[in-house]
């Protein structure tokens, strides 16, 4: 009888330790998850800021000025444009 009790006690202790360990691991993993989520949010914020920057650099008025002034580009004279139509259309 005493042997059985001792065995049960050992099992109980093992279970208890297992519970504590798994709880600890859960919390550790959860805090990792939290950290990654925070990182994702920060990256999202950065993405927004980069998008903002891209839009600012890519302002059509700015692109047009640079194209015309610095690169000397201009729209082709319509007389020099040849329209290529896909097969089968007019």
């Amino acid at each position: 009888m005493a042997k059985l009790n001792l065995l049960l006690l050992a099992v109980l202790v093992a279970c208890a330790i297992g519970l504590v360990t798994s709880q600890h691991r859960t919390r550790k993993l959860f805090s990792d998850l939290e950290r990654e989520q925070a990182r994702a949010r920060a990256l999202d914020v950065e993405y927004g800021q980069l998008q903002l920057e891209a839009s600012t650099w890519g302002l059509h008025a700015r692109v047009e000025t640079i194209a015309a002034r610095q690169l000397g580009l201009r729209a082709p004279d319509p007389r020099r444009v040849r329209v290529v139509r896909p097969e089968g259309t007019r």
């Binding site: 959860f30 805090s31 903002l52 302002l59 729209a75 007389r79 444009v81």
Partner: protein, 577 residues
């Protein structure tokens, strides 16, 4: 000996009451303990659990980020990004030596201004400065002033600036929409902040999610139908034209005929939504949608279309317009170019008021009212945009003959520019009125049938004639595409009458005529640099924007790529409305 015996006897024979007293005291003590524990366990349990939870569990707010607003190609028009606000508890603030001066210079404020804000010691919370850059906030916190704190907030940035200001609108300091699309789509853009209960360890890390109290939701991104390139082209063209004509204001709208999407919507004067410190009402007004005006001749095609629809007339039917004026009840209608008789086509081409009035008077007022109403005049456009004006179209029963006559050429009725543009989709789409949208759909829209296809095509031919040499709007033509449209020049209403020298020049049209793709409507308010006709002020803007937009959209040419014989400025036929 005696004493010893006595003591011995005392040990053996204790009085019974003492034992009972001790036992009783012990029982009482246990009962007290049991009672207390019962009390704590059952009656106070909620309170105690709460106290216990407060040691490690926290409720944290999950802020919702506001959705971005994008143009149809995905370029950002409005983005929220976190900034910091500096706040203080006035009662707690203690400045060290020189700290106040440093704080003031960091925040770009006057030291006295800060003192004034901190003077109200009864308050627990005072913003020192809202929306500063994260770097500034870091420097302020590094000063380590007691009672001064930072808080994270969102600020909205508009990279498009003044070009898209009226469409996108703006948000207030609390990041809630106040104007334009920001206000119209507030519910979906804003999202819902959530909150949840978590367990934190002694280092403040979240170790367990206990419960989600309110599920939060981030704002949804919104993709507008606006095409950034066409919008930019429209705005710069409009701005240049308003300045060149020394006009008070200008407005332009471009609609994709097939989808009903608004590709460009520009107003001038505009404002910079990123810096709204000095704003006037004139800058803020979205004239395309909220301003009503008497459109003038741009309405004539609807009168003629109605006449054609009855089947009693054809485009070749002659109308007598001699001697170029017509008097009804003390009011005389004039033509700028008097002619003896004009065909219906010529009434549009030459923009004859007398001709349009005569055509209108031959029809019942109810039919005309019905026509105007069916193309959307007098009805608020279903745009989901704040402040969309309905316009004024009085019930036909109250019309007098002179009113019916003037309405034929667009006077005595008020409409917004977007209503005009939408109504012109009827001619561009073989008689269908298309519902408009500011949100990208990219799907073929199905419209409501207002006119027969034959009538729409006939009017289309007339409108093409109106931009040919000899019409009122030859400067609306562009190389490579066939264009159709109608000019409008209206006297402005002032103090209940018409101002003699204040005009409103407009042009509405579409291209390419063989398969219409774009409707563009332009309005210039009080041009005062010599020219005031729609054909000389508004038509060139139309041509420039239309040509650029068709090229950007890759619309196939339907006219030879030959230079047009460009009429000199002021050469086109004038018109009085």
């Amino acid at each position: 000996m005696n004493a010893a015996r006595q003591a011995n006897a005392g040990l053996v024979r204790m009085p019974l009451w003492r034992a009972r007293f001790v036992a009783g005291a012990l029982v009482c003590a246990f009962a007290l303990l049991a009672g207390r524990s019962l009390y704590l366990q059952t009656l106070r349990t909620d309170f105690l659990q709460e106290k216990g939870d407060a040691r490690y569990s926290r409720v944290i707010e999950i802020p919702a980020t506001r959705g971005r607003i994008l143009d149809r190609s995905g370029d950002a028009l409005a983005v929220s990004t976190p900034v910091k606000s500096i706040w203080a508890i006035p009662g707690d603030v203690e400045f060290g030596s020189g700290q106040k001066r440093k704080l003031a210079s960091l925040l770009g404020m006057d030291a006295r201004e800060i003192e004034k804000k901190l003077a109200e010691t009864s308050r627990d919370f005072v913003y020192l400065k809202r929306q500063v850059s994260p770097e500034t906030a870091e420097a302020v916190v590094a000063l380590g002033i007691k009672g001064v704190h930072e808080q994270r907030e969102y600020r909205r940035y508009y990279p498009g600036g003044e070009v898209t200001a009226h469409v996108v609108g703006f948000t207030g300091v609390d990041d809630a929409g106040q104007e334009g699309v920001e206000l119209a789509h507030e519910a979906t853009l804003a999202g819902k902040p959530g909150s949840r209960r978590v367990i934190k360890d002694r280092l403040g890390r979240i170790v367990e999610d206990v419960q989600s109290i309110r599920a939060g939701q981030d704002g949804v991104d919104l993709t507008l139908s606006i095409d950034g390139k066409i919008q930019s082209l429209a705005y710069t063209t409009l701005k240049a034209a308003v300045e060149e004509n020394r006009a008070k204001a200008g407005a332009l709208v471009a609609i994709d005929v097939r989808t009903g999407e608004i590709l460009a919507l520009a107003n001038y004067p505009s404002f910079n939504p990123n810096n709204r410190s000095r704003l006037s009402g004139a800058q803020l007004r979205n004239r395309v949608i909220t301003d009503l005006f008497e459109p003038g001749s741009t309405l004539k095609p609807f009168t003629i279309a109605l006449a054609l629809e009855t089947g009693k007339v054809t485009p070749a039917t002659m109308v007598s317009t001699a001697p170029g004026r017509m008097t009804i009840a003390n009011y005389t209608i004039h033509d700028v170019h008097p002619a003896a008789a004009l065909s219906l086509s010529q009434v549009i081409q030459k923009s004859s008021n007398v001709g349009a009035a005569k055509v209108a008077l031959a029809m019942p007022s109810e039919a005309m009212w019905d026509m105007f109403q069916r193309v959307g005049f007098g009805i608020q456009p279903q745009l989901g945009f704040p402040g969309a004006a309905a316009g004024r179209l009085r019930p036909y029963k109250t019309w007098r003959p002179i009113e019916q006559a003037t309405m034929a050429y667009g006077h005595g009725i008020s409409v917004s520019l977007i209503q005009i543009a939408r109504a012109y989709t009827v001619f561009a789409r073989d008689g269908e009125l298309v519902p408009l949208t500011l949100v990208k759909t990219n799907a073929e829209a199905s419209g409501e049938k207002v006119l027969s296809a034959a009538t729409a095509q006939a009017v289309r031919a007339m409108l093409e004639l109106a931009v040919q040499p000899g019409g009122t709007g030859p400067r609306a033509r562009i190389m490579g595409w066939r264009v159709a449209g109608k000019t409008g020049t209206a006297h402005k209403q002032e103090n209940g009458g018409y101002a003699a020298d204040k005009y409103l020049a407009s042009f509405a049209g579409f291209a390419p005529v063989s398969a219409p793709r774009l409707v563009v409507a332009v309005m210039i308010d009080e041009p005062s640099a010599g020219q005031h006709y729609g054909g000389s002020v508004a038509a060139p803007i139309f041509a420039h924007v239309m040509q650029g937009a068709l090229r950007l959209l890759g619309v196939p040419h339907d006219a030879p790529l030959e230079p047009l014989e460009v009429p000199r400025a002021g050469d086109e036929a004038g018109e009085s409305t």
